[in-house]
């Protein structure tokens, strides 16, 4: 796998668009869903994931093959997300409007929920809104650490490598994120059903 990826990266660095396309096709879902988890919107996820692949294309000659291509792309995604938050001071008003409208504004989400009965659909929408609101209470780094741990199943070491911080700080940020989420979601207490780290990784890949 390593040799295969290194070969693809080498070809792509020489301008081989077919090789680059292969890299995109192999990783687009992982990177899109990581971007979705970070940004909370399908439109922003598409923009962010495409920005990631463009950055990757421009710097593919820097890929050394020490880690996998997907780990390298994860790192680019996380840094691009943190850059956006830093530069744009991510529009809090826009997010609040989106939350106020509820997820009905996201046609993709509506599509996926269309077949449910109305009562369950309304309850699910409510839960999604509260989950998104809870995530908004986290700082960009806390959110990134939580998302990568909980939804992407990354280890503390992998997260630290992506963010350029130690595993100790990953643990501190994770602890803070959990405490904040617990405070915000205090009114929602659902029984934990078969939760495991492996489930987190499998369900969201």
């Amino acid at each position: 796998m390593k040799e295969y990826e290194q070969r693809l990266a080498l070809l792509a660095s020489r301008g081989d668009r077919d090789a680059f396309r292969k890299i995109v096709e192999d990783n687009k879902k992982k990177i899109f869903y990581l971007a979705y988890d970070l940004t909370g919107s399908t439109q922003d996820a598409e923009d962010l994931s495409q920005e990631v692949f463009i950055k990757a294309y421009r710097s593919i000659d820097k890929f050394r093959g020490d880690a996998s291509l997907s780990s390298w792309l994860y790192r680019i995604t996380v840094n691009a997300f943190l850059d956006i938050k830093r530069k744009k001071s991510y529009n809090a008003e826009k997010q609040q409007d989106a939350l106020d409208e509820g997820l009905a504004s996201d046609p993709v989400f509506e599509q996926s929920s269309a077949n449910r009965d109305p009562e369950k659909h309304a309850e699910s929408k409510q839960i999604q809104m509260h989950i998104d609101q809870a995530l908004e209470h986290l700082s960009p780094r806390e959110r990134t650490v939580f998302i990568m741990r909980h939804y992407q199943g990354q280890s503390g070491k992998e997260i630290g490598a992506s963010l350029g911080i130690s595993t100790g700080t990953v643990k501190s940020l994770m602890s803070r994120a959990l405490n904040k989420l617990q405070k915000v979601l205090g009114s929602y207490r659902h029984p934990l059903s078969g939760f495991a780290r492996a489930a987190g990784k499998e369900a969201y890949q």
Partner: protein, 282 residues
């Protein structure tokens, strides 16, 4: 109480099954005997149970099939823009159109024009940087009115930066001693370590958290972001026990990456200007 604090920090590892065998035993023994920690652990598990219900959008087949095509269009477009920019830069650097003009200007005039253009470019870039920095740290129009009731919070943030800056400057300027063994021998086995006491770090972290809440309430986003970046560095200081050299290097890299010393200086200068300005209501 101290044990409860330690157990609280282990809860994230426990819930994800990342504790060692010994860690699991210690954790479970405490949970079995401490009702408060057991309750807190239960709350965390239930919170994660809710977070698990976050739904992922199911993107259509068409979305995935056309993903690369949309990406390629963006890539081609950005490459066209880049090449246009490169051509523009080349034409600025070479003011004469050699394919059209047959009139050759004297070399001294050509050089003078190049100097003028280069100076204008530098001034333009400097103005752009100044505008960007001022927009980054400019408060909302209602900020002065909103903070008139709490005139001391800006001072508190500046004081916090004053407390942290000397430590960060030490880390930013740290270079390993050339004669480590000699230095260590002369100093009772200690290398040139830049250290700060754990209780001092905890105090700074608490201060940082309190100030983050205050600035967030005042909707001062740039200050909040700056405090968040500082918090990551303070967490590294707090957590970096086992590998002092690795921690030092990491902190130095974070200071450079966030450009935190420069940003703190800019923040304090702007605060000072607002305080001294006769028009401010602070």
């Amino acid at each position: 109480m101290k044990q409860c604090k330690k157990i609280n920090q282990l809860m994230a590892d426990a819930v994800y099954g990342d504790l060692s065998e010994t860690g699991k035993r210690v954790f479970q023994d405490h949970i079995d005997t401490c009702p408060q920690c057991a309750q807190d652990y239960d709350k965390i598990k239930k919170t994660l149970g809710v977070m698990e219900q976050r739904e992922r959008p199911e993107m259509s087949t068409g979305f995935w099939d056309n993903y690369y095509q949309r990406l390629e269009e963006k890539l081609d477009h950005s490459e066209k823009l880049e090449s246009k920019e490169r051509r523009k830069q080349l034409s600025v650097a070479q003011p004469h159109d050699f394919t059209v003009s047959t009139v050759h200007e004297p070399p001294s005039k050509r050089r003078w024009l190049t100097y003028v253009l280069a100076t204008a470019a530098v001034l333009f870039v400097a103005a752009g940087i100044a505008l960007y920095m001022s927009s980054m740290y400019e408060e909302d129009e209602g900020f002065a009115a909103a903070t008139a009731a709490i005139p001391s919070y800006n001072t508190a943030v500046s004081d916090h930066f004053d407390s942290v800056q000397p430590v960060l400057v030490d880390y930013a300027n740290y270079t390993p001693s050339q004669n480590k063994p000699v230095y260590a021998a002369q100093n009772g086995g200690e290398d040139e370590l830049v250290t700060i006491g754990k209780s001092a770090i905890k105090k700074l972290l608490l201060e940082n958290q309190m100030l983050k809440r205050v600035v967030a309430k005042q909707k001062n986003i740039p200050a909040k972001q700056l405090l968040e970046e500082l918090e990551v560095i303070l967490l590294e200081l707090e957590n970096g026990g086992d590998d002092p050299r690795g921690t030092r290097q990491l902190i130095k890299e974070l200071i450079d990456e966030y450009d935190i010393l420069f940003k703190m200086d800019v923040y304090k200068k702007k605060r000072k200007q607002k305080t001294l300005s006769p028009t401010t209501s602070l």
